[in-house]
């Protein structure tokens, strides 16, 4: 059987262990979510990339109805942007100005859907094509012969897998399974609205890569192919761009370049800007986590204070004896704070170990659950040596602060009262 003294030591040690473990788990979750969100954001918008769009505030509905070119993206925009210092490359994105249908046969299933077709130059997609990663020029993107290369947005594959395939029991698809697959494209034809289309000719596309960076709502093919399709099927030229992707010399210049583009009355979107929005939203999460951690820490502090106060009652005779033998008030305070410090060190180290184990287990469980969603980061809990150090330090300081009041009470005990 445990005696009261040991039981109280275990109780205060457990309080600090639970507080530190909770704190470490919550903080690692908070920083893990931030990290995962920022990584996702960075995938979609690399640090050196600015997406330029027409400024709708300036164009307005009337301007749009009047087919005004005001605020729209054109060669003039590219000329303006290219003059800005720090701009390395400019990639305009064009779209096929009519309906299109896509047909794919995968794992014995036939998929037919309407799609949008986006055209972009080789430089923008080069790194997302496995065949082109180590080459100077991406010849398969530039060589305009059938089957034409195409890039699928990664998110589209995720949406298929988790929103369509999984609920309907269809086989899940991986990037490797799809790379090299041929797709049939029917420009100027709508599967959903067949009556609205015109003449169409089947062309063959080949999946050459997946990207987080290309337009989400369709497939991306070489710029020249979209230009060719627009000439063949529509009356609208490809001189107006849907978006323009600007690559800066380095990440430090991105914000400055973007601000200069905004002065030209275009709208911009880039990682650093998105980051600020996300950070602002994540602040609420951090506050919520902080409040929960605060409550746990407060409860731990109350537990420590009450166990130390009980411990004083138990050690009253010992305090009286020490005072009789010449211990000053400061000696008694030091004895109690030393005991608290040792409890704090042991409790905090145990708490950190427990917190790490809890984070790893929860990480595994939650990541497993997230596999069936479009958000699947590698880790949702971020444990760093600094975080462990902070939690251990915090645990020790919390124990010492919580024990200070009982220690002072012990120090002020009259020796004769204590011995009585």
């Amino acid at each position: 059987m445990l005696n009261d003294k040991k039981f109280r030591q275990i109780l205060s040690g457990s309080a600090i262990t639970i507080a530190v473990a909770s704190l470490l788990t919550f903080l690692s979750l908070s920083s893990g979510i931030k990290n995962a969100t920022f990584s996702e954001l960075e995938k979609e918008s690399p640090l050196t990339q600015i997406t330029v769009r027409p400024n709708m505030e300036n164009t307005g509905v009337l301007s749009l109805l009047a087919q005004s070119s005001k605020g729209k993206l054109s060669q003039k925009t590219i000329d303006q942007i290219s003059k800005i210092a720090g701009v390395k490359n400019i990639y305009p994105e064009i779209t096929f100005n009519s309906f299109a249908s896509l047909e794919a046969k995968v794992l014995g299933f036939e998929f037919v859907t309407d799609t949008m077709i986006f055209g972009i130059e080789e430089g923008f997609v080069k790194n997302t094509i496995p065949e082109c990663k180590d080459t100077e020029k991406c010849l398969i993107w530039e060589n305009l012969t059938e089957p034409y290369p195409s890039i699928i947005p990664k998110k589209l594959l995720d949406i298929y897998n988790f929103a369509i395939a999984a609920p309907q029991g269809l086989p899940l698809l991986s990037e490797d399974q799809l790379i090299g697959k041929e797709l049939k494209l029917y420009p100027n034809y709508s599967t959903f609205f067949p009556a609205m289309g015109g003449k169409s000719k089947e062309i063959t596309l080949k999946v050459v890569g997946f990207s987080d960076n290309v337009n989400l709502i369709g497939i991306t093919v070489p710029y020249a192919l979209v230009e060719k399709l627009n000439q063949e099927y529509t009356t609208e030229p490809s001189s107006k761009f849907l978006e323009i992707f600007v690559e800066t010399e380095n990440a430090d210049q991105t914000e400055e370049v973007a601000k200069k583009i905004e002065t030209l009355e275009y709208s911009t979107s880039y990682y650093q800007k998105n980051l600020k929005d996300v950070e602002a939203k994540l602040t609420y999460l951090s506050i919520a986590i902080g409040v929960i951690s605060g409550i746990i820490v407060l409860l731990a502090a109350i537990a420590i204070i009450s166990t130390f106060l009980a411990s004083i009652e138990e050690k009253k005779k010992q305090i009286g004896l020490y005072r009789a033998l010449g211990a000053k008030k400061s000696h008694i305070r030091k004895i109690f704070l030393l005991e608290a410090g040792i409890t704090g060190i042991i409790g905090s180290i145990s708490g950190s170990i427990l917190g790490i184990i809890a984070s790893l287990v929860l990480n595994k469980i939650i990541i497993g659950k997230l596999e069936t969603t479009t958000f699947h980061p590698e880790n949702l809990f971020l444990i760093t040596p600094e975080l462990i150090g902070i939690c251990i330090g915090f645990g020790i300081i919390l124990t010492l602060l919580s024990a200070y009041l009982p220690a002072s009470k012990a120090a002020n005990t009259s020796p004769i009262e204590a011995l009585r």
Partner: protein
């Protein structure tokens, strides 16, 4: 020299007050063996606590070796107890989880611990005939042996006064006799002033001087 001049001690509890000592005037010479006798609640322990600096008088002055205890603050009183007074209690008050040696060493922890402390503590344990029990845990010792450890501890910082409050109260008569002999021996060898509060006639007879106290007054 211990001198008490018009010393009174009043204990206040809520609205009621109890005068434990009333106008005590007393002089104890250095090296004397004094037995303080009287019935329970007469004020024996209170008198010794005041001389030992464990408590302060409500009125009057206490001077020990020309030092006015009334003028000492809490830290100075702690220092006075540590350097000048050795306490022996009826209940022994030993740290049961520590060895005899470590118990004897406790007073030195509050007064510039040095390497010689261990040598002195060992020597004192030999003097109280516990050389074989130096490293034994005190809860493994008999009552008499525990009181010997407490006496060695009282002598650790080389005090000028030993205050023993009913030192044989928890011991059988035979063991009590041995403890008394030991205290007398050490009183002579260490040239300390020995103040014993007791009900025991044998102890009282062994003292150089008997102070009788009743209802807070010296008789």
């Amino acid at each position: 020299m211990i001198r008490l001049t018009d010393v009174s001690k009043k204990f206040v509890s809520g609205k009621s007050a109890n005068l434990a000592l009333i106008d005590i005037n007393l002089e104890i010479k250095e090296g004397e063996f004094i037995a303080v006798v009287g019935p329970s609640g007469s004020g024996k322990s209170t008198l010794l606590h005041l001389i030992g600096g464990l408590d302060t008088p409500s009125k009057g002055t206490i001077t020990v070796n020309n030092k006015n205890l009334n003028l000492l603050n809490d830290n100075d009183l702690s220092k006075y107890r540590n350097e000048n007074v050795g306490f022996v209690f009826q209940e022994f008050y030993l740290e049961s989880s520590l060895s005899a040696l470590r118990n004897v060493l406790i007073p030195s922890l509050f007064n510039h611990p040095s390497e010689n402390d261990k040598i002195r503590a060992t020597k004192l344990l030999k003097e109280v005939e516990l050389s074989e029990k130096i490293n034994s845990l005190v809860n493994e010792l008999s009552g008499g042996q525990k009181q010997r450890v407490a006496i060695a501890r009282a002598l650790m910082n080389n005090p000028t006064i030993i205050i023993a409050d009913e030192p044989t109260g928890n011991l059988d008569s035979k063991t009590g006799e041995k403890i008394l002999k030991l205290l007398k021996k050490l009183h002579k060898e260490h040239h300390v002033t020995l103040l014993i509060a007791t009900h025991d006639e044998t102890i009282a007879k062994a003292a150089d001087k008997i102070i009788k106290i009743e209802d807070g007054h010296l008789c």
